[in-house]
Amino acid sequence: MVWGAWICLLSPLAASCLITLGGTRVSRRTAGWLATSACFVAFAGAVASFVGLLTHSASDRQFISTAWTWISGGSYQSGLSVLIDPLSTFMMLVVAGVGALIVWYSIGYMDGDDEERRYFAYMALFVFSMLLLVQAGNLILLLAGWGMVGLSSYLLIGFWHQRPSAIAAAKKAFVMNAIGDATMALAFFLLIQQGNSLEFGVLGGEFSSTVANLVALGLLGGAVAKSAQIPLHTWLPDAMEGPTPVSALIHAATMVTAGVYLIVRTHAIFEQAPKVADLAAGLGAATLLVAGLIALVQVDIKRVIAYSTMSQIGYMFLGAGVGSYPNAMFHLMTHAFFKALLFMTAGIVIHALVDEQDIRKMGGLRQLAPKTYWAFLVGSLALVGIFPFAGFFSKDSILAAAMAKGGVYGYVLWGIGLAGTFLTGLYTFRLLFIVFWGEPSAFVREHFHPLGRDVVAFSLAIPVGVLGVLSVIGGWIQFSPWWHPVETWLRTVAEPIVSPSSSQEWTSIALSLLLGLTGIGVAWAVYGAHRVAVPRVVWAQRTLEHKFYFDEAYDALFYAPSVALAKFLRRGVEQPLIADSGRDLGDDTRDLGGLVARAQTGLVRTYALAIASSVAVLAIVFVIVK
């Protein structure tokens, strides 16, 4: 079991190093297969850990394996250790499993790219980093994984580095995440000061409410940045500059959900800081609404799905914030299935249309690519949460949990969540109808080229097929009103603090199903049947197209001032005061040299006077110092 966990962690790293060091001695295809098989080995390791845990009783499912002391400072120490418990194995299975499928898919998608080796080295590095994040045995290693996923995300978003937009997006993602890293680090400093430890156990200690609030806020800052929640969300849509499998793996299935994992993992501190937990739920609710609205007006196929991802993670934050941890994790899992599926089918569409992503040029693909259409349809239904697809089982129980939290705040959250299901139905099927229904557009007729029957097509199709199946049946493992194995499995790590009643469950299910279907219906009326003229509200549309002006606000509030400050320091302080001071000093020395030269009169009496006065001064100095 312990060995399984270490193999799971290290095999992707080994693949990444091999590909990097091998250089051209590793062929492009070999690099792809090396990365894919390493991820499957990691998945096998995860399964081994899972099976190993199953053999232990529920109360005895926590193991820490420490390789050596990683860092120390006086009595504070943290080991290089992996944690094997129900929550970490759950995440290992999701990350390694979905990761392996997406890396496999990449073999087809990246076929023919100039730098396939670099791509697969980065992908393997990412899978390692993500596994480090979820397997970390203490908070500092968690932060290490946290930073490493940020790094690999940077590398992969900017993979096509000759594109200025890709590089700008990569930098933006990294810097925004660095802000989150910094707030987490501050929280850890406070923990070290209070508890002199960064083991997960320290979070359960007794803290004053100020300390608990500050620590929770610091962690929430990291979670919000990584999971692209308001207000640190603006990097995610731009991150779609990366290759599509990257979006599927990092910006849908795994990394962006790390914030949810973090809250669940550190829930002990959030329970001591209920206000911050409420804030997390509120930010989730705000994000799910705002992102859902923005998704309505986007015209880039990947950006629509990206906003949908933000919106869905908003649900998970909502769930984790109200204390329904297992449901948040369950939604994380099903979301990984259907969102990866959507991205990958979108990737096939983009591939078939020679890298075109603008949906206004698409249309009628249902006739040309029926299998892709069916896969996309399955993903869309799962996303909206229509019975019996995966999203149905996981999303509704989050809404029920918000209801069970009760109070005005609980019902507000619940209401926003329900509104979100309507929006989900609307934007998802808007996308589906525009891209796949109707007659093939002129652009599609001209550029569409179907997939062949070669290894490329197979490595595209098989992972999509597997995820399609999972998007249908993956949700069935838990149906909150009747059976809940996920909750039972995670209970020892993250005991939920809300338990919805059966009537709350059924109300949420009925209403969200109804609203989801309404959304689909409206989308059909507007985009499918081309019948209804939508009234144009110019200011609303402009606000949505500018994504509520977040980018502009950040530019004006942070970026522009810091650039101005840097410019001012350079021109106003560094140049005149510091750089030139040396030059002045030099000139002065030269002048002084002239003066001193004049003192050399050659007259003994001048020298005698100088010596005598110097001795006197020295004597006085010595008396004073003594």
Binding site: G73, R118, A144, R163, L186
Partner: protein
């Protein structure tokens, strides 16, 4: 052993200067000597008893008996790491100079070897006057290396460098004389603590100029820009650490009361330097400017760690001294390698170098992400400990550090992108080659040290102070 570490490079310098060797054999001999020095250091590392800690391999010979001055050398746990940093970076610098082919190779190589001996001397001297002698001996070859082999603006750069460091040295000399005479000995181990603020400030001023700390860094941009890349690597990588070592070994150890009294202003200067350097690095128009100002920022951070005077801060600052030494040396060498190919360091004229140059891209990217302290790197471990330590002296200092983390990400990524990414810059010709094997041979070992430390930062943090209780060690003056 300790004397051998000092004398081996000095003797090699003498041989290179005296014998009428041709450039190739002078270079090979120097490189051989530098590698032998690394070998001696490895012996030292293996034979130093970290469990026992304290001063080991000490040698003492009377020098000026009446004043209590002696040739007293020895190493502590943290000195082992700083000596290691010195000999490794110097070996890389000498190897690069040899490969790049400097004019008047004998003189150049001799100076580099002499410099190696002097810096090692600074880290092992256990007598104040001896420390001063090595400190000065370290500066003389640097003046010549910058002033003779530097770029077009070398004379101005050297003049500034000389004036600043001379001012610092004189203050330190005065401080040493007053301190030694008042205590009746110059022996660093035997000399008692002092509460004199003036003596303390004399030492602090000297080290603050050498580090440098804001606003005493006027010499830094020109010196780092005008010197040859390997000399810039040594200046920022190793020589600045002599100042940080001085803060640790003398300022905070021998002057506990003044350290306490002046903590706030010193931390304020260090924090200002950290933010200020990071901002200027973000706007610097050229490669070396970015690395130079990031060095200023990092020295501010290291100083904060030392002046936190607690276990976390001290452990972190020793680790970060080694990290920053290795990474800034690597970056300066890489800057030199890029400049060789493009004849400019202006970021606006570079770009697109990643395409077709995988080795350069990989090495620069790796060095860059370590420089920005991506979590899991050894630089992250060092910064984390420093900031955790300084947090306990006031959360505001740590917040300044956290801001600097974000700024570091901004300036390093700007540097990396400007060189590697986007369209091919006007100064980058297609004939500009990827890194040659010799260049890889210089940079990869430095990066390998950093990666090894990333896997095990505790190698340094657990093996720098007695029992890993740095604050107690400082309190008892390493006895």
């Amino acid at each position: 052993m300790t004397t051998l570490l000092i004398c081996l490079p000095l003797a090699a310098a003498l041989i290179v200067w005296v014998l009428p060797l041709n450039p190739v054999s002078a270079g090979s001999l120097s490189l051989l000597a530098a590698l032998a020095e690394v070998g001696v250091w490895i012996q030292l590392l293996v034979r130093y008893d970290f469990a026992q800690g304290g001063l080991q391999f000490s040698e003492q010979h009377t020098w000026i008996n009446d004043l209590g001055v002696s040739y007293h050398v020895g190493v502590y746990g943290f000195s082992v790491w700083l000596i290691g940093l010195t000999v490794i970076v110097m070996a890389a610098a000498i190897a690069y100079a040899f490969w790049a082919g400097r004019e008047r190779a004998r003189a150049y190589m001799g100076l580099m070897l002499f410099l190696t001996g002097a810096i090692v001397g600074v880290f092992v001297a256990q007598d104040l006057l001896l420390f001063y002698a090595f400190f000065e001996a370290m500066l003389i070859p640097l003046y010549i290396l910058v002033g003779v082999w530097g770029g077009p603006g070398r004379l101005g750069a050297t003049l500034k460098f000389v004036l600043y460091t001379m001012a610092g040295s004189l203050l330190m000399l005065a401080a040493i004389i007053v301190y030694g005479l008042s205590e009746g000995t110059f022996d660093l181990v035997a000399i008692g603590p002092s509460s004199s603020q003036w003596i303390f400030l004399g030492f602090v001023a000297a080290f603050a100029i050498k580090a440098p700390l804001f606003p005493l860094h006027g010499w830094l941009p020109d010196a780092y820009r005008e010197s040859s890349p390997e000399v810039a690597a040594v200046l920022s990588g190793v020589v600045s650490k002599a100042a940080a070592y001085g803060f640790l070994r003398i300022a905070v150890t021998k002057f506990p009361q003044p350290t306490h009294d002046f903590r706030a202003p010193i931390l304020a200067l260090a924090a200002t330097g950290l933010i200020y350097g990071s901002l200027l690095a973000f706007r610097a128009p050229d490669l070396r400017g970015v690395v130079a100002y990031s060095s200023l920022a990092q020295m501010g951070l290291i100083t904060m760690g030392v002046f936190a005077v607690n276990d976390l801060g001290l452990d972190g600052s020793v680790l970060q001294m080694v990290n920053h030494g290795l990474v800034s040396a690597t970056l300066f060498l890489l800057a030199g390698m890029v400049e060789r190919r493009t004849l400019t360091g202006e970021l606006g004229r570079l770009g697109g170098m990643a395409r077709g140059r995988p080795a350069l891209a990989t090495v620069l990217l790796t060095a860059g992400v370590i420089a920005l302290a991506v979590p899991l790197s050894s630089a992250f471990a060092g910064e984390f400990l420093i900031l955790a330590g300084i947090f306990q002296r006031g959360w505001g200092w740590a917040v300044a550090g956290a801001v600097a983390i974000v700024l570091a990400a901004m300036y390093v990524l700007r540097l990396v992108s400007a060189v590697l990414h986007r369209d091919v810059g006007p100064a980058v010709s297609d004939s500009a080659l990827d890194l040659r094997p010799a260049e890889l041979g210089v940079t990869v070992p430095l990066l390998a040290c950093l990666l090894a430390l990333s896997v095990w930062p505790a190698a340094i943090t657990q093996h720098s102070f007695h029992d890993d209780h740095a604050a107690d060690d400082v309190l008892t003056q390493f006895k």
